[in-house]
Amino acid sequence: EAAVTQSPRNKVAVTGGKVTLSCNQTNNHNNMYWYRQDTGHGLRLIHYSYGAGSTEKGDIPDGYKASRPSQENFSLILELATPSQTSVYFCASGEGGAEQYFGPGTRLTVL
């Protein structure tokens, strides 16, 4: 079954540390997305990608980098994690048209 998977599902990091969140999709979609979800803010787009080798800034890219080494994989990188980046992160894939398929989420806590 086509799916979007994320790893790890839970992560505790220290301030200033490097964190990498990974996402894999078997939908063969060109577009992939990283969002964070926080109470009171809803879903906010961090980075997205049109295909392998491309990354684009979303609405809140500061403090985050992204990498799309292949059609299937899209990573979110926090080079210097801060407590304000404590959140639930969702990866999604899609072909546009307001139809996206989401992973189960990664709960990140930065101490």
Binding site: G42, L43, Y48, F90, G97, A98, E99, Q100, F102
Partner: protein, 114 residues
């Protein structure tokens, strides 16, 4: 600027009741409209989408939504809810000319009581 408004943060109904979850949007061009469901601790799950044609769109599990251009609305309805429908529901809009980007509403938390 595209906006999506879900006026009700919480809706509470009894099992077997009908429900309507409201969504209003603000955008002048051609758009896609969609609904998603998020159960507690899970990712969002796509329910249905509208672009053109029949303004009533059927989704999974008995959900349907109706597009109204005059009201700028895309309300989600279900005739008879089940306790398992308890979740947060998100309305979303995407510009046809820039379809990669999706604007999500704040969500409506549906509570279904036994």
């Amino acid at each position: 600027t595209q906006t999506v408004s879900q006026s009700d943060a919480h809706v509470t109904v009894f099992e077997g009741d009908s429900v309507e979850l409201r969504c209003n949007y603000s955008y002048g061009g051609s758009i896609y409209l969609s609904w998603y469901i998020q159960h507690h601790g899970r990712g969002l799950q796509f329910l249905l989408k509208y672009y053109s044609g029949n303004p009533v769109v059927q989704g999974v599990n008995g959900f349907k939504a109706e597009f109204s251009k005059s009201d700028s609305s895309f309300h989600l309805r279900k005739a008879s809810v089940h306790w398992s429908d308890s979740a947060v529901y998100f309305c979303a809009v995407s510009d046809v000319t820039n379809a990669y980007k999706v604007i999500f509403g704040k969500g409506t938390h549906l509570h279904v009581l036994p």
